[in-house]
Symmetry: C2
Subunit: 130 residues, 2 copies
DNA sequence: CAGCATCCGCGTAGATACTG
DNA sequence: CAGTATCTACGCGGATGCTG
């Protein structure tokens, strides 16, 4: 692809040019990216392994996510010229530093999921929640 | 709404029922939620303030995001019965603990955005990137 | 095995108009 | 001011079929 300009909202570009957090969020603010980073934090994995480990991810989305993370320098991709082909994915040093944050999110999630779910129950049980 | 069942993929529910991280990601793995939490980490804000602070967010998305975070027990909403109306949003204690992670993500972003952008440039400049 | 290409439906988000 | 309601479109992501 030559043209990667798919934005139609000018203001969008404005904020993108000025806020690092948003630019990073544009890279990793999706579920699959976070899960991939979390998985690779456990060590190098092959494509097929990841597909099996991350239940519910389609081949397309996994490929897309990995390409994106590779582009961002968070994941590195190594192809072995063998038959059958073998492709391994690893976190770069940059990716490892980010993985620390993902890990803390995982810990937070496991500590607080009960509270969150309980809150949802209460919220949905309100009289006006119809 | 009575029916909130919009899932069609069985496997989806399977993972949702077993993995706290994914359940939490389903709540906060979008850009606006992270930005809202980051903003409220600076203190209580009114709706209009937030709309102006978070450039590019539509009124609809902001409302939607805030409702979702309120449901999760991350944000609390206080309505003042005045004219004109005044609505304030604040992080709950739960939200504050999550805000710590968001804050560390912000720091990471500002520290590493240059590296990420440079990596993207290099990636896009590959011969085969056509 | 690891991936690309294509098709397609549905949901998500934007725009707009109206209200307490 | 802080929403709700409705309409629309377009892009995301799933399913399928094919390749090195």
């Amino acid at each position: 692809m030559v043209t990667i300009e798919t934005k139609q909202h000018p203001a969008w570009d404005v904020y993108k040019a000025t806020c690092p957090t948003r630019q990073v969020l544009d890279c990793i603010a999706d579920k699959w990216a976070v899960l991939v980073i979390g998985l690779l934090n456990g060590g190098t994995r092959r494509f097929g392994e990841m597909r099996k480990s991350i239940e519910g991810v389609s081949q397309k989305m996994l490929t897309q996510t990995l390409r994106s993370l590779e582009r961002d320098g968070i994941v590195s991709r190594r192809v072995y010229a063998s038959v059958p082909p073998k492709v391994e994915y690893t976190l770069t040093p940059l990716g490892q530093s980010l993985a620390g944050i993902v890990e803390s999110l995982r810990v937070w999630s496991e500590s607080n999921i009960e509270v969150v779910l309980a809150s949802q129950q209460t919220y949905d049980a309100r009289p006006e929640a119809e």
